[in-house]
Subunit: 423 residues, 2 copies
């Protein structure tokens, strides 16, 4: 690490794809499930195990590993000018209750593979390089998701997060202390130069188009709604069709409308009814009440607003036609995130130089990067996952794609190292 | 009871509406709930209490009360010619778990009010008159419903019913013994001349049209189906609309189709999706699998068959258009029941003579009468219930309508007494 750069932009440095894959398989043992998935909820014994492993492994590469007051881990490889804030790479090592081996994990271990590539080649960057493991991205044990990148970027206060409780009543702050990961560095007082995150797509587009790399330009804007439709329970045999107030039939028409509103803003908009509860839910009773949720997204906030207007006009009209009452409430509003054009350009150039099939893509799910984009130049890299599947024990990617994503990450980091603070 | 008839067709005999209402309120105490409903599951202590009360009350009117091997109770008032099989009136005293005071009960106590009217006037019919309390019409503790009128009419064997078990594992036969209502007369070996059943409508038509009496011409034919729609779970944010296999959206289109198929056979046909289960039922996951039921009914079996053909053609086409797989299975087929034209005419004449607003109507729900129609001339009389509500603690009828229904029942019984075995 005391050598001079031997090649501009590190053209002779490469990712060890086999080592990256071995790391993925190794960490999958912490909380590994019989079906080949991972159950590693945040701040559990399994989370401590993978954090300890990550720290040990990075230290073996000569890095200094610290963690802040929210347990966010930072593995730092020094640069030539350690007064410069680090170029950072991050994601998360926690999983869903029946999660897979790659969601989040690929981003941290991809960062580790970059550290390994730099160390093995003896290449020293201008900036320090840091790999970050964010605490509780998934939000399944303690809600909401992206919790500690949220504190880091000022979206949440430290205290409100420390006081969160899981369903068993355990307090976030106590559980963080219990696994030994409540650090002394105040969360957020950690300047960075730029942030890159490698992640599985969690969607089917790259696989369908045979592309290896997604150059992520941002995160879609999303709004969530809860809809309650009230009709009247009635006997299915003795209630003539015109006398019914069928809450499920009305809801069926609204579900079709949600789809049509999204399709009218093709190809980017999506609209989904994912959850529905029908009452009394008996095969010979005309349903009297239905509750369902709507999830509307588009990369352009103006389109999301427009779709909301269409829903607010069409759904009550359907209710009126269907002789039922309805109420719609917006319960979540996440504006679109636009990543840094310069960082996006670095990823795009890296993919092109590597000869990978690539396309620009907008992330559907949120990521720690969505919050980091508020405080530093940020972008993401996607790789394909089989069938677009994630949050599932059957989550699957190839060793080649993992290595490709890490290779593009490495090249982008070196470009960022050259471009930022170039004076 | 030894007097001669004092008036042809009993024109001077009348129902005591207050006594009928008092009986309804009295029996509602056996299993009465805080909300004013009744929980009187078959073969429980409450069922025994109401049976004992019924037997006592009928015996006080001079009737002989027996019960058969399935616990069906028969309260017999002798006639002038006791070699004639009795004219019968029946229904049931058991209720749903959160049932009301009238469903079934009105039919038995309306029969009791006929016995009382005859006794008080000293009128002796040609035939014996019997009021029947059928065991387990509701089918909520032991399925299926209409169980012991089913044995009586040869639909089920005695042994298969005796061996049924409730969800706690208790055997029907043992529970029948335990309440002391396993009789020695073999169920079904009990000739009858005709059968009349008074019941609340359990639908909204009479109330909506301001009619007091429903002249029931039969029971609708009904077919039930189970539909399974298989798509693919996918992330609601990252899966473009054209790449989805949304099982709920497809199901919504099928629910609309069920309604349209029924409406195309207006005004008699009905079609209902009452039960739906959506998986994984998460607000940001495109649903991968939906299960729902369909209930199709019409008084004409040919229409039910025609609607089935339409469903079998339209639903797979919707599945194809919606990029999902589907399977539909018919799980129940109850052919239409057509009541006896002569009995129907007696009820119609009785309603007209009484000056009540009346209309012919087809029953949506099944009733003990639907089985009795297989073995003897049968019909039913409906009275309105508030909001069409039944199987509900809030079930409600008026004292006037109860008395009107019993009055029509009385007149119809006297007409039947005159008409049958007249030769």
């Amino acid at each position: 690490m005391t050598q001079q750069n031997t090649a501009p932009h590190g053209s002779n440095i490469g990712i060890d794809g086999q080592a990256l894959w071995a790391d993925l398989m190794e960490t999958a043992r912490f909380g590994g499930t019989p079906k080949g998935g991972v159950r590693r909820l945040t701040l559990t014994a399994e989370d401590r195990q993978v954090r300890d492993w990550f720290a040990r492994t990075c230290e073996a590469l000569g890095c200094t590993v610290t963690f802040d007051s929210m347990g966010n881990q930072f593995a730092r490889r020094p640069g030539l000018d350690n007064s410069l804030p680090p170029i950072t790479i991050g994601s998360h090592l926690d999983t869903q209750p029946t999660g897979g081996k790659y969601d989040g994990i690929l981003g941290v271990l991809g960062g580790l593979s970059v550290l390994r590539a730099l160390e093995r080649s003896g290449y020293v960057t201008r900036h320090p390089i840091e790999v970050i493991n964010w605490t509780n991205e998934e939000g399944s044990r303690f809600t909401p998701p992206m919790m500690c990148s949220g504190v880091f970027t000022g979206v949440f206060t430290e205290q409100e997060v420390l006081d969160k409780r899981d369903r068993a009543g355990k307090r976030f702050g106590d559980e963080l202390e219990a696994i030994g990961y409540r650090g002394s560095e105040p969360c957020g007082q950690h300047p960075v130069t730029a942030y890159f995150e490698l992640h599985i797509e969690q969607g089917p587009i790259l696989e369908a188009e045979g592309k290896t790399i997604g150059i992520v330009t941002g995160v879609q804007g999303a709004r969530w709604y809860e809809v309650t439709v009230k009709g009247k329970d009635a006997h299915a045999g003795s209630t003539p069709m015109p006398m019914r107030h069928d809450a499920l039939l009305a809801s069926a028409r609204m579900i079709e409308a949600v789809s049509q509103v999204a399709c009218a803003h093709a190809p980017t908009a999506v609209g989904t009814v994912g959850l529905i509860e029908n009452r009394p839910n008996s095969n010979n009773v005309v349903p009297g009440e239905v509750f369902f949720t709507i999830d509307m997204r588009d990369p352009d906030d103006a389109v999301v607003r427009q779709m909301e207007e269409e829903l607010y006009s069409q759904l009550p009209e359907i209710a009126r036609r269907s002789n039922v009452e309805m109420e719609i409430v917006r319960i979540w509003d996440a504006p679109a995130v636009h990543f840094d054009p310069e960082c996006i350009g670095m990823v795009e150039a890296a993919a092109t130089e590597s000869g990978y099939g690539a396309r620009r893509i907008v992330s559907g799910p949120g990521h720690d990067a969505a919050y980091m984009a508020r405080v530093t130049p940020t972008t993401m890299i996607f790789v394909p996952c089989a069938d677009g599947l994630s949050h599932n024990e059957a989550e699957s990617i190839t060793e080649q794609d993992a290595a490709a994503g890490a290779g593009v990450l490495l090249k982008a980091i070196l470009k960022a190292d050259a471009a930022f603070n170039a004076g």
